[in-house]
């Protein structure tokens, strides 16, 4: 459909030029929406989440059955009242009154049962939904970073939302479909019992509807899917226009975009009209079948009533049942899709829940206490994200308590990996990493994390107030501690200039602050944490010299009295370090303070003498040149 429109458009636009290299909006290919109908393994996994609420579910099923029974009983009571209680001219109101009392009881039970059933099912479905989501969320806090690195956040979010929601829908409708099945069977049984022949005749309409639905469903579903898809395409294009509006206007693309968007909106229109046709075509079919069944009852049943072979009340009851018995078929065929969708979602949910947790506390893991010495040591460490391609090759060094060490080296030399290993984001393949004299694998991750404060290159702030962000690591920090930290790193002034000071709510990821400001807040955050060891990845670029100056001062403050390991890019930082470790291709090639290394006349001095203000400014080829020169 969409393609047809595209080509049509291109013809219209045919002015000798070929179609533009232009699209609006992007379209992610949707994940498999329908799985197989039933997968016992997935059902078992999901059942585990329902299990805590099973007694509620049992009660709900009981209530559903009760409710269904009353649905079946009400026409029967009416029938009884008509046939037995309304003899014209009779003065005995006993049977009618009795029927009315039974009717009253029935509707009260019906009321209670429907209330109980929906409350229980609705409530449990919500609870299970949140339990599944929490289990996944909690699991994601533990799975390995390398798995997280290669998994898109958007994809995970669609697991946590879309897939979990379709499980909820499934749960809710499955209990109700127990009622539908019972109702369907109940109606069949009651009709056949009331009058076998008439029942059989009337029920002949049922398979017709069933067959029609079977043919209709896959086609209709396809059209619904198409409508859904074109809708999300058009919406995506609108969102893009909003987010990219400055670029669009800057390059004057409005006219082309409007034309392209028109295609998408039009495809959306046509698919929706088609889907509406499919949805509505069932209405006259069901109505006709209902009319047909009622006509049958009137002609055949009516004739038998005339011959007094059938009570008129039975005929009335039949007419009532006919009005009801197409409903369960409709919901049951819909349930089919719900179930397939749930299986596909369940599959994806279990995949997430089954991602192994690589890094766990050892059973006898020790707590790293705050009075450890704060030393860090790498002993013959070999490590690679892919074990075949080690990023660190037999690296050994020691950082003494209170010492500041700068890690220096070209991109890909293994600096960041060193940093990750200290915190045990990953486990080494060979050798060991010691913190405070203990192998990090022998320590609990929590206690290790508490003694190491990390500042990442891209300062990640959370939505929330400045205050909350600064005390992120230490939730019980007082206001004074926070302000003191902010003052120490020089962030206090600009924080106070913001509308609500420390109570200013930062936008998503601190969007309303400049990079330098975010950096300073993340410094304050690390300072509040007050850990023995500070691991810092210096920001590379994008900071103006004015903020830069503040940051340099803050850094000195931050390193005071701490063991510091800094991935340094700024010459100023590097020169002030107690010791510099130069890494290249995963190997430690030089170590010493600035003066010593300058004397060494190797890679460091070569790079330094190139007179760049930051090591990152040095073009790759120049670094390579220097490295080659040094190797020879």
């Amino acid at each position: 459909m969409a393609e047809e429109l595209e080509t049509e458009r291109h013809d219209v636009r045919d002015d000798g030029r070929r179609p533009p290299r232009a699209v609006v909006g992007s379209h992610r290919i949707e994940e498999e929406i329908f799985g197989k109908l039933f997968d016992s393994n997935i059902v078992r996994r999901i059942w585990a989440f329902v299990h805590p609420y099973r007694s509620k579910i049992y009660w709900a099923v009981a209530a559903v059955l009760c409710f269904t029974a009353m649905q079946l009983a009400i026409p029967l009571i009416i029938r009884h009242a008509i046939d037995k209680g309304m003899q014209e001219g009779s003065l005995d109101h006993g049977v009618l009154t009795g029927s009315i009392i039974v009717f009253a009881v029935a509707i009260l039970i019906n009321f209670a049962a429907s209330y109980a059933q929906e409350m229980l099912v609705g409530g449990v479905a919500e609870d299970v939904l949140f339990d599944i989501r929490r289990a996944m969320f909690s699991h994601l806090q533990r799975v390995s970073l390398s798995w997280m690195d290669k998994t898109e956040v958007g994809r995970l979010m669609s697991r946590l939302q879309g897939d979990v929601n379709s499980m909820q829908e499934f749960l809710e409708t499955s209990v109700l479909s127990v009622g539908d099945i019972t109702l369907l069977f109940g109606i069949v049984v009651v009709m056949l019992t009331l009058d076998f022949k008439l029942g059989l005749l009337t029920l002949s309409a049922l398979p017709v509807l069933f067959i029609v639905r079977i043919f209709w469903l896959p086609r209709a579903r396809k059209s619904f899917m198409a409508a859904h898809e074109t809708n999300s395409i058009a919406n995506g294009a609108l969102a893009e226009a909003i987010h990219g509006v400055r670029a669009v206007q800057g390059m004057d693309r409005q006219a082309v975009n409007f034309m392209l968007y028109d295609d998408k909106a039009r495809a959306n229109l046509t698919t929706h009209l088609r889907a509406a046709k499919f949805a509505q075509v069932m209405v006259p079919i069901v109505d006709s079948l209902t009319g047909f069944a009622m006509a049958l009852v009137i002609v055949v049943g009516g004739a038998r009533v005339l011959n007094q072979a059938l009570d008129v009340g039975v005929m009335v009851a039949f007419l009532f049942y006919i009005q009801r018995f197409f409903d369960p078929i409709r919901s049951l065929t819909l349930q089919y899709s719900v179930m397939q969708r749930a299986m596909a979602s369940g599959q994806r949910l279990t995949e997430v829940l089954d991602v192994p947790v690589d890094i766990k506390d050892a059973p006898d893991a020790k707590t790293l206490s705050a009075d450890m010495d704060g030393s860090v040591e790498f002993k013959n460490v070999v490590f690679g994200y892919n074990p075949k391609h080690p990023v660190l090759k037999n690296v050994s060094f020691r950082v003494n308590p209170g010492e500041t060490v700068a890690l220096v080296g070209p991109t890909g030399s293994g600096k960041s990996s060193c940093m990750s290993l200290i915190h045990r984001f990953y486990d080494v393949q060979q050798g060991e990493v010691l913190v405070g004299g203990h192998d990090v694998r022998d320590l609990t991750q929590d206690s290790l994390g508490r003694q190491i404060a990390m500042v990442l290159q891209e300062p990640f702030l959370f939505t929330g107030t400045v205050f909350e962000n600064i005390r992120y690591h230490k939730a019980d920090a007082t206001r004074d501690e926070v302000i003191e930290a902010a003052k120490a790193v020089g962030a206090h002034d600009f924080i106070m200039r913001m509308a609500d000071g420390y109570e200013t709510v930062l936008g998503q990821r601190g969007g309303n602050l400049s990079l330098g400001q975010r950096q300073l807040i993340s410094f304050a955050r690390a300072l509040v944490a007050d850990a023995k060891i500070l691991v810092l990845d210096e920001a590379t670029a994008n900071i103006d010299s004015y903020t830069e100056m503040l940051i340099q001062k803050a850094l000195v403050k931050l390193l005071e009295g701490r063991t510091g390991l800094v991935i340094a890019h700024r010459l100023a930082t590097i020169r002030e370090a107690d010791r510099i470790i130069v890494l290249q291709n995963g190997e430690l090639i030089e170590s010493g303070n600035h003066r010593e290394l300058m004397k060494n006349d190797r890679l460091y001095s070569k790079l330094y003498n190139l007179n760049y203000s930051s090591f990152d400014d040095i073009p790759d080829d120049v670094v390579e040149e220097a490295a080659v020169e040094q190797a020879t």
Partner: protein, 621 residues
């Protein structure tokens, strides 16, 4: 992000959110406007409404036919020889019933299809109108508007307006006919029994309206709470490293639990509202039915009513039950359309601040001279704060102007005035003597390229991204621009080359690569003025110098303006303007400014040897 953006983002305007509580009068005029829009598709709308009338008439025939059928079976009991006649009546009644059912079905199809069709056509038009408006609204509007709110207007509010015809208007016709005509038929048959049969209608109508409005209000609240939960999860997953670095997963789980508990509580509450109301409605319906059965039964016994009429009454009630429950949906649809319409129309009716003047002329670039003449500027959101004050300078074709200064000094703002992203508050900007406010936006913006600091890439191929401003460009042009921006080799190294999809959902590029891509994109426009708004900050100095030399051959054809805080990016400029608090405080070549020993000199010392105390002192002094 520039500090200008910081100021602006800190003051989100609530312009579109203000219309939460629309008055009745306003609500009515909005609904009228939507109705008029619906009837812009006169045939489809009339079909829908006509079919509704016919379908409900047929539907109302059904109980009567059933009653007649039941009665004709009772004939024999009364008087002997009418048996054959009764048989005939049964047959004709059955056929009429079949006919009525089929016709009701067909007309309902027409009703539903055309009312949806009207909605979809309205949706189509509104979408286009919305898209066009959003594309054309000027920067100051977009600065003041949270993009999420704008998306809500374009998606959800539009949906509320689109659904109005089928869920509010047509349903109103349907319900009026069914309930009104049904009530008339019932009451005219038997006033007492009719009243009993209808007794549930007011109660159910009231309950369902209350429930629906409450459900909608709580739904909106639930969406808010869920979005908090979404944000908690998204930030947690996006910031995994921070969470782990601070061993904060306990804290994060706590955040999750609080957000989650907030949402689940409300979700439970909503289940409660829904269930208690539907149960009460069903109960009231059945109570009415019981009463009809009781009183009607007594009447049958007394001989004042036939079983058939009683059956007709009971079926009438079953037919009325569903539509009456829908009263609430209808009330809700009206309420929704009026609030959604208020927001949507406010957007569509907005005046575009920056647009072509009536007699705007095409910009004619001859000498290629850009002039700022005493330009003042303040952002519309804070008109008292002058971001630029009395800025004047001239740049001739072939010249490069460097602009430098502390954060918040107005450098980026100055750059944004040239393509009229904003209009000056005083003074004027001219290109070859033409005031840019008197030229067409299209011709102006095609002559000026701004490479933004944080450039937005579109989720499409690299090729399409480069050709964004010139979609009909030849491949060779694209590659040449890419080469000049030092991007070509990188692209060739990608497995799918220029067909690689980048942007939000594509391959993620580093900051430097993004900037180089947006430079290539700007080069495609062959502009008369090219502005680099701090757009090389993430590019290493070596690559930057190669970009600079590649562009030297174009530079003679245009004015180049470089805004940067890294001096190496603009030291080579023909003239450097040092800005502070919105004014040009120093101006000259690099050497002149160094000799002048002022602010520029201080910055230079700071950058070249940042460790030296000398730099600090000079700058802070």
């Amino acid at each position: 992000m520039s500090s200008d953006a910081t100021v602006r983002a800190a003051k989100p305007s609530a312009s579109l959110a203000l219309v939460k509580a629309a008055s009745w009068g306003k609500g009515f005029s909005i609904l009228t406007r939507i109705t008029v829009m619906a009837f812009r598709h006169p045939w489809q709308a009339s079909f829908a409404i006509g079919a509704t009338l016919v379908a409900s008439a047929f539907q109302l025939m059904i109980p009567q036919l059933l009653g007649r059928a039941v009665d004709s079976t009772q004939v024999v009991l009364k008087g002997g020889d009418a048996g054959q006649m009764a048989q005939d009546t049964l047959l004709t009644t059955a056929l009429m019933l079949l006919g009525a059912s089929v016709l009701r079905g067909l007309f309902t199809l027409v009703q539903n299809y055309y009312s949806e069709a009207v909605g979809h056509h309205m949706g189509y038009r509104l979408r286009l109108a919305c898209y066009e408006k959003i594309q054309r609204l000027s920067f100051s509007f977009h600065d003041s508007m949270h993009s999420g709110d704008l998306i809500t207007v374009g998606l959800l509010d539009l949906e509320g307006v689109r659904m109005y015809f089928s869920t509010a208007l047509v349903r109103m016709v349907l319900l009026t006919v069914l309930i009104g005509l049904g009530a008339y038929l019932l009451l005219s048959t038997d006033i007492v029994l009719g009243l009993l049969a209808l007794s549930f209608v007011p109660f159910v109508g009231w309950r369902s309206s209350v429930a629906q409005l409450k459900l909608r209000a709580t739904w909106l609240e639930l969406q808010d709470r869920l979005s908090v939960l979404t944000r908690v999860m998204e930030e947690n997953l996006g910031g995994t490293r921070v969470v782990r670095a601070f061993a904060a997963h306990e804290h994060e789980l706590e955040k999750f639990d609080i957000a989650s508990k907030n949402a689940v509580e409300l979700a439970h509450q909503r289940v409660g509202i829904r269930v208690s109301n539907t149960s009460a409605m069903t109960l009231s319906f059945f109570i009415a039915m019981g009463l009809v059965l009781w009183v009607g039964g007594a009447k049958v016994m007394a001989g004042t009513m036939t079983v058939g009429t009683l059956t007709a009454f009971l079926t009438f009630m079953t037919i009325l039950q569903m539509p009456v429950r829908q009263l609430g949906l209808m009330v809700n649809a009206f309420a929704r359309a009026s609030t959604c319409g208020a927001r949507l129309f406010e957007l569509l009716d907005l005046d575009i601040a920056i647009k072509d003047e009536k007699d705007a002329e095409t910009l004619k670039v001859t000498d290629g001279t850009l002039r700022f003449e005493n330009v003042d500027f303040a952002y519309p959101s804070s008109p008292d704060l002058k971001v630029l004050a009395g800025v004047s300078f001239e740049a001739k074709r072939g010249e490069t102007i460097g602009i430098v200064g502390p954060p918040g000094s107005g450098k980026s703002t100055l750059a944004h005035l040239i393509p009229r992203f904003y209009d000056t508050t005083a003074g004027r900007i001219t290109i070859d003597g033409q005031d840019i406010r008197h030229t067409t936006l299209q011709s102006l913006r095609r002559s000026i390229a701004v490479v933004q600091q944080d450039s937005f890439l579109f989720t499409t191929t690299i090729e399409n991204n480069i050709a964004y401003g010139d979609p009909w460009a030849k491949e060779t042009h694209i590659e040449r621009a890419s080469e000049s921006a030092q991007l070509h080799n990188y692209v060739l190294g990608l497995p799918t080359g220029y067909d690689t999809v980048v942007g939000e959902r594509g391959v993620s590029l580093s900051g430097g690569q993004r900037q180089r891509l947006s430079i290539a994109r700007a080069l495609m426009l062959k502009p008369a003025v090219m502005v680099f708004d701090d757009s090389t900050a993430a590019i290493d100095a070596g690559t930057e110098s190669r970009i600079r030399s590649a562009m030297r051959k174009y530079a003679s054809d245009r004015v180049t303006i470089i805004v940067a805080h890294r001096l190496s990016s603009l030291m080579h400029a023909d003239r450097i303007l040092f800005m502070e608090d919105g004014r040009i405080v120093e101006s000259g070549t690099h050497d002149q400014l160094l000799k002048a020993d002022g602010r520029y000199r201080a910055l230079y010392d700071l950058q070249v040897r940042p460790g030296d105390d000398l730099g600090h002192d000079a700058l802070t002094a």
